[in-house]
Amino acid sequence: MIRKAADIRLKALPVTANMEHLYYYEGPCRFGKGESLEVGYDRLSNAQIAKAMVDRLHRWAPANVDVLEPVMINRTDNWDNPEEQWERLAKVVPEADVIVAHPRIGTDDLFIEMIERFDKPVLYSPDGICGIAETAAIRNKPGKKHVVYANRSWEQLAARLSAFRAAKVIRSTNFLLATRFGNTTSFSSVDSFNNYDLITARLGVHFRFINAHELLDQMSPAVEGGNHTTPGRVTPDLTEEDMAEVKKLADELMAGADEVEVSREYLENSLIAYVTVRKNLDLKDCNAFSIPCPDVCSTRRMNEQKITFCLTHSLMAEQGIPSTCEFDVCGGLSEQALIAVSGHSPYLGNSYPVRVRDGKVDIRLAAPEELEKLGKDPENLYYIAHSIAHRRMPDPNSNAPYALRHFAQDQGFGAIIRYDWNRDAGTPVTLCRFSPDGSRILIARGVVEGGAAYRTQGCGGPIIVRVPNADDLCDKQCSFGMHLPLVYGDYTKELKTMADILGIEAVMSV
C-alpha cells in the first residue's frame, strides 16, 4: 500500500496531573478561601481544569491530528507517586506520537518522570503557566536529549502539532529506489544522500531497492517462462487492467491539454512506465520513488521502449508522492518535507541563479521576448527546471492548464507536461533541501517571477523565482545540492519547526 503523507495522522495523548490536598490549610502555593480549601474541593476542581484543557486541544488540534482518550495522573500532598499510575500509562503511551501535558504545581516531577520512563515528545499546554520550568528542567537533563516544548498560546501548540506530524511523515517515508549500479549515487546526482544507514538513524527513513532492468522488464505483458532478468518467476508485469488504466489516463491527459505535441503511442508508453512504478510502490509498501537518468538511459532500453520517467514523476507529484529523477533521493525526501508541511504538490529541478552576461539574462531555450521581460529586473532571480512540471501547483485538488510535449527531441518519445509558470507570477514559494548527510535542511523563500521555454520540448521549461538574496541562497545551496524542490506558499516557519523536532539544523535563506 502507498501510504501518502496526507494519510499519515499524528496521535496526541492529553495527560493532566492533579494535586489533591488532604487537609484544610493555605500557604505558599496554596490559595483559596473557605470552601475551596476544604477536603474534596480539589478533586472536583482538578477534573474541571483537565476537561477544559482537553476541550481546547480538540478545538485547536489540526485536521490530521487524532486526540486520544485523556489520562489523569494524581498525587496528594503526601507526595505519593504510585507505581500503579505508571503501569496504567504504560498501556496507552506507546500508541501516542506526542503527549500534550498539563501539570499542576507540585506535579512537575511526575511529568519529568513520565518523560524519563517513556521518552515521548511532550508539548506543554498553554493553560496555566505554560511549562517553561518543566521544559528547562527536561532539556538540561544529563545524558539524554528529550524533545519537549513549552507553548505560550494554543496557536503555537497547534503549529507544533502540525510540525510533529510533518516529522512523522518524514519518519514514515519508505523509498523505492530503482538502481543500475550502486545504490547510493548515480552518475548525475552525486549530491544525494551518501549514507543510508545514517539517514535511517537520523531521520527514520527506509530504503528499498529494485533492479532497473527488472522494472523495465515489467512494462510489457507477462511471458512464458518469466522475464529475462528473472527467469521462472512470476513478476508484476503489465496486465489488461493496467492497460485499461493507461488508456483512460491518456484520454484524460490529451482531452485536458491546451496543446498536444506528443503522439498517443508515446504518451501511452510513458503511462505504462507510470503504472508499473506505481504498482511496485504499492506492492512494496513504499511512498517515494527515484530512478537515475544517465545510468538507465545508457542501457539504451529507454530508447528501445520509447519511454522516459518524466511523466511518472509529474503524476506522482500531483498525488503528493515524492518522485524524483536523476536518482536524487535527497531531493525526494525534501519533496516529502514540503508535502508534509503544506499539503501541496511539489516541483523539482536544476536550481541556480539566473546568469546575467553582458547585462543580459541568459536562460536556456528562453524566447527573446521572455529574456527581454526577465532582463528588466534580473537581480536575485533563480532558475529551476526539470521536465517534470504538473497540473496541480496552484491547487493540489484541481488541474491547471497545461500542454503535453515530448522529452526526446529526435524521436519524440517521453511524454512531458509543460506548465506556463507566468500564470502564477507573484505567488510566494518555499524551497528546501536536506543536506547529503541528513544533518541539516536548507529552507528558502521566494516569489514566482514567471517562466520560460513553455513552447519547447526536452528537459527544461523553467520556473523563474525571485529570492531575497540569490548570492546568499547559492552560497548556502553549495552545502546542500543542486535541486531545490519547491511548493507554492510560505511554509518556511513550519519547516523550521519540523527541523527542530527532527533534531537537525535549519539553514535559512529568507
Partner: protein, 142 residues
C-alpha cells in the same frame, strides 16, 4: 449598608429555600430520576439567583455564566471575556462556581460525585442524573 443587608438576606433566603430542595430528596421514597432532576434543577436555580428565569435550551455552563452576570451586574458576554484564569493552574471563576455548587450537593446529600463525569455535565438534567446514580449506588432510591 442597606444594600449589604438586603444582599445578605437574599443569600440566607436562597440558602434556606435551596436547602428545602435537598431535604425533599432526603425525605422522599422511593426516589425517581425525574424527581431528583427537578429538585436538583430547582436547587441550582435558587443558588444561582436565577429562580423564575427561563433557562431552557441553556447548557449548564451558560446557566453558571448567567448567574455570574446577574450577581456581578454585567452581561454574559462580559463574563466570558473577563473570566480568564484566576490562578496559575488555569482554573476560572466559572469553574469555581460550579465546583462550589457541586460541593454543596455532596455535603448536603452525603454523596461523592464522580470527578470527571461532574466536569462533563452539559445540562441541569445531567447533574440530576449524576446525583440520582450516586444515591442509587448507596441504595437510597428505595
Amino acid at each position: 449598608m442597606q444594600k449589604e443587608r438586603e444582599a445578605l438576606e437574599q443569600i440566607l433566603s436562597a440558602k434556606a429555600r435551596s436547602g428545602r430542595c435537598i431535604e425533599e430528596i432526603r425525605q422522599s421514597a422511593p426516589l425517581t430520576r425525574e424527581f431528583v432532576r427537578s429538585r436538583i434543577a430547582s436547587f441550582v436555580l435558587i443558588r444561582y439567583f436565577l429562580e423564575g428565569e427561563d433557562v431552557s435550551g441553556l447548557s449548564f455552563d451558560q446557566i453558571a455564566e448567567r448567574s455570574i452576570a446577574v450577581t456581578a451586574g454585567i452581561s454574559r458576554e462580559m463574563v466570558r471575556a473577563l473570566d480568564t484564569s484566576k490562578d496559575c493552574m488555569g482554573s476560572t471563576s466559572l469553574m469555581a462556581k460550579k465546583v462550589l455548587l457541586f460541593r454543596q450537593i455532596e455535603k448536603q446529600l452525603d454523596i461523592e460525585l464522580p470527578a470527571m463525569p461532574s466536569a462533563m455535565i452539559e445540562t441541569l438534567d445531567d447533574l440530576g442524573d449524576l446525583v440520582f446514580d450516586e444515591l442509587r449506588k448507596q441504595g437510597r432510591v428505595g
